[in-house]
Symmetry: C2
Subunit: 474 residues, 2 copies
Amino acid sequence: MKVDFIIQNTFVMTMEGNGVGMIENGAIAIKGNTIEAVGTTDEIRRDYSAEEVINGENKLVMPGLIDAHIHTGIGILRGVSQDIHNWMQEGLWPFMKHVTPEDNVKGSMMNIIEGIKAGTTTFCDYDGNMNDIVENYVMVGARARVAELVNEIPNDIGDVPVGELYPFHSEIGERKLQNNIRLIENWHGAENGRITCMLGPHGPDMMSLELMQEMKGLAEMYDTKLHMHVAQGDREIDQMIKRYGKRSIAFLDDIGYLNDRLLAVHLTEATKEETQLVAKRGASMINCSGSIGIIDGIVPPILEFLEAGGVAALGSDQAPGNNCNNMFNEMKFVSILNKAKRQDPSVFPAHLSLRLATIESAKAIGLADEVGSLRAGKKADLLLVDLQEPSLSPVITDPIRNIVPNLVYSAKGSEVESVMIDGQFIMRDKQLLTVNEKEVIAIAQEAANSISEKAKGDIHPNSPLIKRMEAGEL
Amino acid sequence: MKVDFIIQNTFVMTMEGNGVGMIENGAIAIKGNTIEAVGTTDEIRRDYSAEEVINGENKLVMPGLIDAHIHTGIGILRGVSQDIHNWMQEGLWPFMKHVTPEDNVKGSMMNIIEGIKAGTTTFCDYDGNMNDIVENYVMVGARARVAELVNEIPNDIGDVPVGELYPFHSEIGERKLQNNIRLIENWHGAENGRITCMLGPHGPDMMSLELMQEMKGLAEMYDTKLHMHVAQGDREIDQMIKRYGKRSIAFLDDIGYLNDRLLAVHLTEATKEETQLVAKRGASMINCSGSIGIIDGIVPPILEFLEAGGVAALGSDQAPGNNCNNMFNEMKFVSILNKAKRQDPSVFPAHLSLRLATIESAKAIGLADEVGSLRAGKKADLLLVDLQEPSLSPVITDPIRNIVPNLVYSAKGSEVESVMIDGQFIMRDKQLLTVNEKEVIAIAQEAANSISEKAKGDIHPNSPLIKRMEAGEL
């Protein structure tokens, strides 16, 4: 049979089975946007010929990585607020209040490029203004599973003093909900299924019970998931106790939110029992090690969640906090931070991190029939990784294979040589093919300059970040 | 005045003063192997002309990074032993026993290239066979401060059951000491001072008191430092108590080792009081976050050491454990692991990590007059970093500058575009100029294949790593 591409004489890490499903001297055949077959080079060459045969010697073919939680809309504010308490209020907000919808889109594109260069092929983007942002994914050719951030709080919420209850405005919630519905109506299943949509309640503390229930009904109606921050910080827990007399997870259990439609993001403040309850109810956990480490100095309870039988995924969150959107970074951090948390080097082995960025993540977000592993019939979302980069060399296969630990603990993301999404090369030999990288960066830089100009008067002279500037530390 | 190079219209992060010493629209003038002047572009262009003027727009000039503790000689075994207890005995040793001196040199070169590509310009290499390895640094043109690993234990020490006292053989110690002396005699100050040497006692548990005292005397005689593992693991502490009835640091204090000649590496098992004592006595601490996180699941007590007034530095240790030798990785890990350890996002700010990989490190290893910051009269060891890489974009300078947090929390190392050491470009526009990268990798791969062949029979079928192989996890 004739296919479009065969990549052969290569390591194929399928992520099928319970481990990583490594095939040595493997090959993969791709036709249209679909994986036609995976096997040894001999098997594939016996059964298939191709328009283009790619020599994969000294390379690794692996599934594209899934970033299960990313806010690309604020990517433009990378790195403005680190090493402080109250990250959002003290550092981010003076800038964020000046970010326009156009800035969201420009920064998002820069963020998407960053992800693709580091091997991300599926983006679970969760942000305001998603009806515009989604067009970036259409243009680039990436897979996206997007949600509009819905809440009932005014845009100047960053000015509400810590400790006071957020005011809810139903007309704000209604407008944002309509944006989420419009997103779903216009884009769910678009681009041959490459774009799908979710509901995006911002968090249990950011909207009324009524709106939460309405969104739950919509998720059922559209048969999709709810992507939501849960127990993401002590401020959220404080709001929930003040408003409902309950912590977030008990409240969500009461209102029927804890089930397999829910992607519970962060669980930073969840107790062991709460974490176990979320897992037991069948909701998924999205773990963002980099951002929660930097913003809160906390290692979220993902090990407890997995031990309770939950399905989990990894996310890079957002550049103002993390400061990178690179799934290799997340894989490395989740392993090492959890080893340190347990003081046990044997916990969170490398293959587990890889699974949480591929097949387990696909299960969590509801795309396991399409992506997350390399298997005949799934979409052709895959990476070619250069194993001759010094950071991945040498390759040892016997008696122990060193590829998996080196991918997780050594790879930086820049070892990704080529990226295929939905059967199309989006990056080849480190060149992006569907967007002009330099132009995207220049456009984002221009937008950042304008935000910076407006933010000048809005940062308090006593801010710890201004002190750092004055001390020459930034 | 005419100089060789001017890099202008750029951000210059000098690392002078107590912060990062950032100059916007800065420039640097280089003549021979020396920094002639640093200042604003206007100042430099007023006073200097150059053979070559480099436009540094959208780039950052910063000091080359110092890797204060690296074993390049075992780089060839990258990633063979992760996610287990007894890393050395269970995983590494079956391979390590087959590594020849030639393999050391081949793997070392691969490791050095990895470091340079990620911005390391000074390598404190600490290994056996250093008289051969040192020639790699001569060839590549990197700065090195090398020590021979001296101990009195036989090569098959990996076979000694955990818990038994190591046998000491004075003839082994004598031979290795002679190698260290030969290293110093032949290489200390060589290559116009680019190569310098230290004494390298392997650890207080690995040699007799007499040999330790002899090496201390030699360090004084040669007026150089002692590079030594201290409190690096529970096995060391167990050996010390069994042999001397004392823990490592009390023992070292008794024999006069704790002073400013000592680079105390790891301190993994040091108590708070022991850590404070090391700082108080003026010894330096080398902290290896990546390797100790992966091998032991421990965050070493560097914050306590710094709080006690100590001078500390960062090291990447070795590829079989870490698994990378990339100082950007170390800067990121030391900050985030310590935030998580203290559960406080404000500890270990980004500029501190940068200092510990540059100027503080230079102080620790005794090269502060030559490297670690950009100042007239110091050696021209510097990096050009591309700020238009998506991971470092956009650049915001006002009211908060985001370059420093993004360098530490987002940069992967692959943003380093050019590397100058001792006034010579070693890498330019990501091309290595003094070695053939592909050839180095191919030579290391060939050596690894031969080690792998020999190691087959030496790994126990009940090894947890073999179990992982069988489970398809590797």
